[in-house]
């Protein structure tokens, strides 16, 4: 074209058309993403190695006192599964996970709905909301442990419970740790749901309000289906994390008193690190891993369905 005329008349400036351009065979182009992923795959393999080693340990009788282990087949599983302490751990873990996740979900949705009413208040409170979430759970547990102290802790003083009320007693310890979990992680559910609420289209709600629909009807029929994916993402993250809860419990109670808060990971820690019985700890972990994996699989498939349905509801 006219604009290109200058260089056309001065061909030496011409670039690629002189000489044969290099040819990149199809297989090498196909290889490109794989090459980019090689280091990441190396990391994955590096992490999977100890993982599989852990699975292997579960079939050995490996411990610090027995440094030359031999394969014992399913002995560890038999012994762990017939140990009432293991089943206590399962019960404690399940109670912790479902109670904490359930309450956090309900509370989180509630807080999100309340914050969504006013954008200004919402944005300011949001900053406060994320504070507990960003503090290391261990540090949060340390703070709460100070507050829980019957004599010197601030909670009994403020709530007027005297100096003998023990938050971490055998009966109350599990609920107190769940309380700390709520303190930390309810905001997680809340900010995810809040993000979802803010992304909702306005038209369907205005239309159904014109139609005279009540608040609860709109919440159930319109908002909940569209919010399901967001809620489910939050639930998945919370449930998975709760099933393997360790740090909060370990700092607050170290699994005690007795075995009142001995979750599966805390139990595994006791076995493999405290008692240096690696095989028994690994067996615990392997069983927990199967549980987590199964729950994750199920929830992710539910999430996929919900996302498709929500896309339909919005479209």
């Amino acid at each position: 074209m006219t604009t290109t005329a200058p260089s056309r008349q001065a061909p030496p400036a011409g670039p690629a058309q002189h000489g044969t351009p290099p040819v990149v065979p199809r297989w090498r182009r196909r290889l490109r993403p794989y090459l980019l992923s090689v280091p990441a795959v190396a990391i994955i393999i590096g992490i999977l190695y100890p993982f599989f080693l852990g699975v292997y340990y579960a079939f050995l009788n490996y411990s610090a006192v027995n440094p030359n282990p031999v394969l014992v087949g399913f002995d560890n599983f038999r012994s762990v599964l017939s140990d009432p302490e293991f089943w206590t751990s399962v019960r404690v873990t399940a109670t912790y996970a479902f109670v904490a996740t359930g309450l956090e979900t309900v509370l989180g949705i509630g807080i999100a709905l309340l914050l969504n009413r006013s954008s200004i208040v919402g944005r300011i409170f949001e900053k406060v909301l994320i504070l507990p979430l960003m503090i290391a759970p261990v540090i949060a547990a340390v703070i709460w442990k100070l507050m829980f102290n019957p004599q010197f802790g601030v909670l009994n003083h403020v709530l007027g419970l005297g100096s003998t009320f023990d938050w971490l007693s055998r009966d109350r310890a599990l609920w107190s740790t769940i309380l700390v979990d709520l303190w930390i992680y309810t905001p997680f559910v809340a900010i995810l749901v809040l993000a979802g609420l803010r992304s909702l289209p306005k038209e369907p709600f205005e239309a159904s309000e014109v139609d005279g629909a009540g608040w609860f009807y709109m919440f159930r029929r319109l908002m909940l289906p569209m919010m399901w994916p967001y809620i489910l993402v939050a639930v998945i993250f919370r449930l998975m994390d709760c099933l393997k809860i360790f740090d909060i419990v370990y700092v607050l109670t170290a699994g005690g008193p007795g075995d009142a808060t001995r979750t599966l990971q805390v139990g595994a820690f006791e076995d493999s690190i405290t008692n240096l019985n690696y095989s028994r700890g690994s067996t615990y972990m392997f069983l927990l891993w199967i549980l987590v994996f199964a729950v994750a699989r199920y929830l992710v498939s539910v999430l996929g369905k919900a996302q498709r349905r929500a896309a339909g509801a919005e479209g």
Binding site: Y34, L36, G54, L107, L114, L131, P132, A136, L192, R198
Partner: protein
């Protein structure tokens, strides 16, 4: 109650007042422990066991915590733990970025056999019980001399930082139109130059968010340093718990001061990336 759905239209009803009260309650609940931590950290040794709010504040505790104090319980090198934390987490994030950015780009840009498997393998690390990996690593590290070293920590922290970096950045690369890079290719730039010139600058916010969030989570991690370090490469989270002491005299004010110091970096970082927090926390699943 319809006001709850539609922002901007607020009516002063019994319901909305009740709702506000609930919010206020939650924020008292949320802030009280943090406020208490700050108060406690400012108390003197003689006041530390009181539960009163009136006291004569002192900043000595922070100094005491930072300078190693060889009493019965605080044989903790807290300043050293701070340095270790920075080194461990910084190193881990750096490695994750170097390795994760190309992988995230590949997974976000192309559909290729195994890309989904790779991504889900990454995600499974996020959800795997840590001890499953740490127990064997404890044995391996003791045999190879990686126990209680920064390198050992950088390696194991990949479990925390890598999935975060790869998943968040993949969602950013997916949002980026491939045609921008295609235009650069036709402008005469190689793929690498097109990536550096076009894609990289546009996902910079995503990289910053992923890096900072990964740093926060690495910083907040407890299990790995608890088991895989001793005094040399131990981190703030482990150091803070040591102030609780085991049986000896407890120093509440020092514990609170240490907790405050340990909690501060993540809090400050989190506030700087607040806009990207939701997307990061949900691994890119929720785009806010």
């Amino acid at each position: 109650m319809a006001t709850e759905i539609k922002p901007g239209r607020k009516r002063l009803t019994l319901g909305s007042v009740g709702a506000d009260l609930l919010l206020v309650f939650w924020f008292v609940f949320s802030l009280f422990p943090i406020a208490w931590m700050v108060l406690l950290a400012l108390k003197t040794d003689t006041e530390q066991t009181t539960t009163y709010f009136a006291f004569s504040p002192t900043f000595d505790n922070f100094g005491t915590v930072m300078s190693q104090r060889g009493t019965d319980l605080t044989s903790v090198d807290f300043a050293g733990a701070l340095v270790s934390s920075v080194l461990n987490c910084g190193g881990a994030v750096l490695v994750s970025l170097l390795i994760g950015i190309p992988a995230a780009y590949a997974a976000g840009r192309w559909k290729y056999r195994g890309s989904e498997d790779l991504m889900f393998q990454m995600l499974s690390f996020r959800f795997a019980p840590e001890l499953m990996v740490v127990v064997p690593l404890f044995v391996i590290y003791n045999q190879t001399g990686l126990f209680d070293t920064t390198y050992g920590m950088i390696w194991v922290l990949q479990l925390v930082t890598m999935p975060l970096v790869v998943w968040i950045l993949r969602s950013y690369f997916q949002d980026l139109s491939a045609e921008l890079e295609q235009a650069a290719l036709l402008d005469g730039y190689t793929r690498r130059r097109a990536f550096v010139m076009v894609a990289l600058p546009l996902v910079r916010p995503g990289i910053a968010a992923a890096a900072l969030l990964a740093f926060i989570f690495a910083w907040n991690n407890y299990v790995f340093p608890l088991i895989l370090t001793d005094s040399n490469a131990t981190t703030v989270t482990v150091a803070v718990t040591k102030f609780l002491g085991g049986g000896g005299q407890a120093y509440y004010n020092l514990t609170a001061a240490a907790a405050l110091i340990g909690a501060l970096p993540p809090l400050l970082l989190a506030l700087t990336i607040q806009r990207y927090l939701v997307r990061g926390l949900s691994f890119g699943a929720v785009k806010a």
